[in-house]
């Protein structure tokens, strides 16, 4: 590994990107969309006490959404696109090793993705005007955003080294990203519904008079029992852990307001996802005659957070393993002297 060669390769990549007009158009569209989202968020949360925190979290989520949507096109053809343009082999015959080439491609794609974060910074700063956003929340969410941008970049570069056709590798990058974003939701939803548990619901109430009054002394009626089923999301909650939006929400520390509710979107999603870890009550008893038997199932946000475990590091770990694995695979398929070539490709 030579740092000067990696540096040269990164500059080679970035120089070409910054000379493309499309790149500035994309940044402009990105900024424009962020402006709309920020303004709308201020209108939506303008009357709440911690509107800054809400706006901030929405802006960050939106940035993550755009990064997830844009990054595959920035990285998904990094290596096979160069092969198509016959500019890969002239680099491979230099002293630059395959490892250096793949690493530089990844770092360049990551840097390109980070440029979008830089554009988003003013909008994040504006949300601070509203107040309520804590420094720690900002720090953690930014770090997660930066890491996730790198994950998408690595997936794209890895697949572009693995697959021959650049169109195919861009599409596959989108599919992998979609598997994380939507696939986890589908797995969670369907998985939870597929695994159902029997529930029993028992109740008894007073025997009412014909007038609808409770006689004195009250007479308790017979116990009645109903059976049903309930989805077991607590068995599949981990499927959500690999969702990048959940990672972002779960990693940021939750701030609760005076009423005990989360102050921002991070907190709401975090509490919602964490509550899925809790097993549903399978036997419910409702006894009108004995008020002490009546249970209140609803937990406060604080109770949910205290009873459940954070999962963001598992999700982030899965992302990093998948991204790293694809990079290594891409490296192995791009190595020279090549023994096998991706189907349908020429080396030069």
């Amino acid at each position: 590994m030579s740092l000067s060669r990696i540096g040269a390769l990164i500059r080679l990549d970035l120089t070409q990107r910054v000379r493309s007009v499309a790149w500035y158009v994309l940044l402009g569209v990105f900024a424009f969309l962020l402006l709309i989202v920020t303004v709308l968020s201020f209108f939506a949360f303008g009357s709440t006490a911690d509107r800054g925190a809400s706006v901030y979290s929405i802006v960050v989520f939106f940035v993550l959404l755009l990064v997830v949507l844009v990054s595959p096109t920035l990285s998904g053809n990094a290596i096979n696109g160069d092969r198509d343009h016959a500019t890969l082999a002239p680099v491979q015959v230099t002293l630059a090793t395959t490892g250096e080439i793949v690493l530089a491609k990844f770092l360049a794609a990551w840097t390109t993705g980070l440029a979008f974060l830089v554009v988003a910074v003013p909008f994040m700063a504006v949300s601070l005007v509203g107040g309520g956003a804590s420094g720690l929340t900002m720090l953690v969410s930014l770090i997660v955003l930066i890491v996730e941008t790198g994950v998408v970049a690595a997936i794209g570069v890895g697949l572009s080294g693995t697959l021959g056709r650049s169109l195919f590798s861009v599409a596959t990058t989108y599919l992998v990203v979609a598997a994380f974003v939507f696939g986890t939701l589908i797995a969670f939803g369907l998985g939870g519904l597929a695994v159902q548990s029997e529930t029993t619901y028992s109740y008894r109430s007073y025997v009412y008079t014909d007038d609808g009054d409770i006689p004195d002394p009250p007479v308790c009626g017979e116990w009645e029992t109903y059976e049903g089923t309930t989805p077991r999301f607590d068995h599949v909650w981990w499927a959500l852990a690999a969702n990048p939006f959940v990672v972002l929400a779960d990693a940021t520390p939750v701030t609760l307001n005076r009423e005990g509710y989360p102050v921002d979107m991070f907190g709401w999603i975090s509490v919602g996802v964490r509550s899925a870890q809790l097993a549903p009550r399978l036997e419910t008893v409702w006894d009108e005659c004995d008020r002490s038997m009546q249970q209140d199932d609803s937990l406060t946000s604080r109770e949910i957070l205290e009873r459940t475990a954070p999962s963001w590091f598992v999700g982030l770990g899965i992302h990093i393993v998948v991204a790293g694995g694809l990079l290594v695979w891409g490296w192995a398929r791009t190595r020279t002297p090549a023994r096998t070539l991706p189907p349908g490709t020429r080396i030069a």
């Binding site: 000067s4 120089t15 070409q16 016959a86 500019t87 002293l95 020279t336 002297p337 090549a338 030069a348």
Partner: protein
């Protein structure tokens, strides 16, 4: 023009070794046998031409020599270095110019050379200096700061050659370097290659334009259907082009002077094409024409010796109609993989 003042010092291998040595090299892409059996030496200080029809495996062979592709079997040495075992060492002394024109479209010619220099380990200042020298060498100085996308095919070809020379390589592998060049640039390329060879470098170049190759190569390696073949040494029955004052109308006089049946002579663009059994007969024929007071303007082989050798290759379709009963040439393999 010399490029010997390059800042890179390379080439520490055994001087006794030929610049390029290939023994029994084989490479297939699935069912396509691009290179079946290649054995040849390319000597240092000489220009070796790689001659063969389309799909004969020239590009695949060059890719293997350039350390990009592994052979299935056989042995390759470049200045004694095995490009498979020590690709880094081989790359430091090999300059490769691909047939595909891969130039970074938004980079200028100067930047292209500077980046390439950086990737060969040159410092920024050295890479800049080297780029300036090479832009002059390949006559691209006036387009140095134009983006590569505006360059014509020939200009990109020059840039590709300059890129192959960035690290002052000892061994040059050039795949169709002259394609797209104008006549002046071709002459310049020829002089440049002769100069590089004179400095002791090994140059292997492939080209389809045999007449052009003929003017620059010292040796030729013939590749047919992925195999190196010995060029047929016999010089039997070759055609000679005879131009006489008065044109083809003097055909009968020429035939008479040579003692040939006039029906054996053909006319091509005003010249007479005369078959002679061998070189000695051709020399005797010329003497006979002069002695018969026939005003001979030109007397030359109808095709270049490389071209003649090429069409004499086993399995190469002859330019004329094959005589009945001639063995059908083996079909050349399809272009596949990197072939």
């Amino acid at each position: 023009m010399t490029i010997a003042d390059a800042p890179v010092q390379t080439g520490t291998a055994d001087v006794a070794e030929p610049g390029i040595r290939a023994r029994g090299v084989r490479r297939s892409f699935g069912a396509v046998h691009a290179v079946r059996d290649v054995t040849f030496d390319a000597a240092r200080g000489r220009v070796t031409g790689l001659v063969g029809p389309n799909g004969s495996g020239k590009t695949t062979l060059l890719l293997m020599l350039a350390s990009l592709l592994q052979p299935d079997a056989g042995e390759l040495r470049v200045n004694g270095i095995d490009p498979m075992a020590e690709p880094q060492a081989a790359r430091a002394i090999i300059g490769w110019m691909p047939d595909a024109l891969g130039a970074w479209p938004s980079l200028t010619a100067r930047e292209t050379l500077q980046f390439t220099g950086r990737l060969y380990g040159l410092s920024k200042a050295d890479a800049a200096a080297r780029a300036a020298v090479l832009l002059d060498v390949v006559m691209l100085a006036d387009l140095a700061d134009a983006p590569a996308r505006v360059l014509s095919r020939g200009q990109k070809q020059k840039l590709g050659l300059a890129r192959a020379l960035v690290h002052d390589p000892q061994v040059l592998l050039l795949d169709e370097p002259a394609s797209g060049l104008d006549p002046q640039a071709r002459v310049h390329l020829r002089e440049l290659l002769r100069g590089l060879a004179a400095e002791g470098r090994t140059i292997l170049l492939s080209s389809h334009v045999l007449s052009e190759l003929e003017e620059v190569v010292d040796d030729a390696v013939f590749l047919v259907a992925g195999q190196t073949v010995d060029a047929a040494p016999d010089r039997t029955a070759t055609d000679w082009r005879v131009r006489v004052l008065g044109g083809a109308a003097s055909g009968a006089a020429v035939a008479a002077a040579l003692g040939l049946d006039a029906g054996l002579l053909r006319v091509d663009r005003g010249d007479l094409i005369v078959p002679f059994p061998d070189d000695a007969a051709a020399a005797a024929g010329l003497r006979a024409l002069v002695q018969a007071d026939i005003p001979v303007l030109a007397f030359s082989p109808a095709v270049g010796s490389l071209e003649r050798a090429f069409f004499d290759l086993p399995g190469t379709p002859s330019p004329g109609t094959p005589p009945p009963g001639a063995p059908t040439p083996a079909p050349a393999p399809q272009d596949g993989g990197a072939a």
